[in-house]
């Protein structure tokens, strides 16, 4: 029983969040922050697979998020929306079709990552970085030229699915309030994502990934099929990012190709390097910290307080929170790189730092 303490705690936390959200103790804003936290965890852990565990340098991760978001949105509108004609499925089916839709988006994103995986057989770090940036631009540009998903105007209608889920909820579950379905699925998918990555890294395949990171030539000689390892790793990473994109689309209810540009990829990279390369728990912690920071720095009062010396000297300068935020976060990261370049955790897991934790959890 002791071994499952941590898992039970996590399950309790999830149930507590759902109950609090349903009885409106957590308002929509806090729910949205929690959901973005989950999506950020998925993004950072999946990018950590490539950038940390495999040692390749990818800076176009948002491309796969974009593919997943669009595929999931189109499927969702096809099944339950009325944008492309009548809904294909009854609204009652929505809450078990929804995860399938998200997973399909992830699957298409995984297939699209072959664009990156194939050149990675021959190319090395900097050249591969370019290829990923190019793929990011290509995906955005391709979607902007598709008129049936609205091009650069963006695409909406995914909220129909969410409403279908809310409307068809059985009365014993929801009572008088709306049941927070999207929050439930974000929590489930985040758990799924962490579980998959953890299982993958600790498997024989994952040892191969580590071998590719340490020394590719030696790994090849020791009969590791590096091309296969790279392909599988890229596909898992991109697939999870695609799932994150699908959830992102359903949380916001609107997707735009420009919201998946290089800046989004940079955000994911910031989270990975803040947490420490190749550390799963580091990626999770840093994603939570990063989401929290973004929301804290959104408050104009805090920014005004921090900028008080500057505004005292220049009285007519009015710093806006949205802009100063993006000066402070990079500044913080630069300072972290100067004084603790290995990030929050470095190459260690939480259980390496606190060995006693091993008694309290198990990942099976």
């Amino acid at each position: 029983m002791q071994k499952y303490t941590f898992n039970i705690l996590m399950a309790f936390l999830a149930v507590a969040l759902l109950v609090l959200a349903q009885y409106r103790i957590l308002d929509n804003y806090i729910q949205a922050v929690i959901m973005f936290g989950g999506i950020n965890i998925m993004m950072s852990t999946s990018l950590n697979l490539v950038n940390g565990n495999m040692g390749e340098f990818t800076c176009g991760h948002a491309a796969f998020m974009c593919v997943g978001a669009y595929v999931a949105s189109i499927l969702s509108v096809l099944c339950f929306g009325d944008k492309f004609g009548d809904p294909l499925l009854p609204a009652a089916a929505s809450y078990f079709v929804f995860p399938v839709i998200i997973l399909l988006g992830g699957a298409v994103a995984a297939v699209s990552s072959i664009l990156v995986a194939l050149p990675s057989f021959k190319t090395r770090d900097d050249y591969l970085a370019i290829i990923t940036i190019a793929v990011n631009y290509m995906v955005i540009s391709a979607i902007e030229n598709m008129d049936f998903v609205g091009g650069s105007r963006g695409f909406q209608g995914m909220k129909d699915t969410v409403w279908a889920m809310v409307d068809s909820t059985p009365s014993w579950l929801a009572g008088d309030n709306d049941f927070p379905w999207v929050l439930l699925y974000v929590i489930l998918f985040t758990a799924f994502d962490v579980w998959v990555i953890r299982r993958f890294i600790t498997s024989t395949y994952g040892k191969g990934v580590n071998a590719v990171c340490q020394d590719e030539t030696a790994a090849e000689i020791m009969s590791v099929n590096t091309n296969k390892i790279k392909t599988v790793n890229f596909m898992i990473s991109a697939g999870l990012a695609g799932c994150a994109g699908g959830l992102f689309a359903h949380v916001i209810g609107y997707v735009n190709p420009q919201s998946f540009n290089i800046l989004k990829s940079t955000e994911a990279m910031v989270m990975v390097y803040l947490g420490g390369m190749g550390s799963l728990s580091g990626a999770i912690i840093s994603a939570v910290v990063f989401t929290f920071l973004l929301e804290i720095l959104r408050s104009q009062a805090l920014i005004d307080f921090l900028m008080a010396p500057a505004t005292f000297v220049f009285p007519d300068w009015e710093p806006s929170a949205g802009v100063i935020k993006w000066v402070m976060i990079p500044l913080l990261l630069v300072l972290i790189m100067q004084f603790r370049p290995e990030g929050i955790m470095g190459n260690k897991e939480l259980s390496d730092v606190f060995p006693k934790l091993k008694k309290y959890y198990t990942f099976k």
Binding site: L118, W326, V327
Partner: protein
Amino acid sequence: MDFIIQNIINALQWGSFYALIALGYTLVYGVLRLINFAHGDIFMVGAYIAFFVAGFMLGPALGLSPMATFLLAVPLTMFLTACVGVTLERIAYRPLRRKGAHRLYVVITALMCGLILEYSNLAVLGASRLKFPELVHKTIWNMGGVTVTNLKVIVIVAAVAVFVILNFIVTKTKIGMAMRGISYDKFAIPLMGIPIDQIIVFTFILGSGFAGLAGLLFAMSYPVLEPFMGMIIGWKAFIAAVVGGIGDIRGAFYGGFLLGFIEVGVVTVFPSTYRDLFAFTILLIILWMKPTGLFGMPQSTKI
């Protein structure tokens, strides 16, 4: 025929900007093995510095004529932008290099420095776009249906001149020899009595100075300044440098012009929204065929 020649001239101008910025990328990469992602934003800073320099000189304090302003603004902008680049190297990259940090950490620091430059600019100067004053009076020569403005000629000549100067510095002078030496073997060079830090600072002076020149010329050609103007063009110039083979000056030059030709060619045939898609697809194919770029040397690993 006129149409084709006109487009070739436009592509030469567009490629010149890419080539100028790609040269800066390549110089820093060749010496330090560092992708200086802040380079595109240094280009942006150069354009803004040019704006303030020109505004000061044309203003009531000095009241110079536009032509004299242009001639004075070129060295001044290059000097000030080089100062920005060297400051960046001094406060962000050098401590990391001294510690022997992982290469990727330096790259992330560079990315973040670029973001800081963009957003601090946005915070200080606001989101309103600035209008660059006209320095060189525009003269248009018509040659049988082909229009050439004097600005285009200035830009193309500047790019070629910078390429020739850099080629001369790197291949014929002592400091260029030191640069090539550092990129060949970073550990043996200090033992030969070569001051490695000075060489690296000189590299940053060169790269940032030419980025400043590119910023000035860009602001003169497309006279609207905004804080994010360096982002897209910086990424694309970096891609051009890689396609040419990063670390190779010829490669950066030809890669920049290649990218310019591809983009202008796509825009003439297809709708302009397809520009990025086709340009990047072609570049991906080139990299897939030649993984180390057009002029890059394949690296062999000893086992």
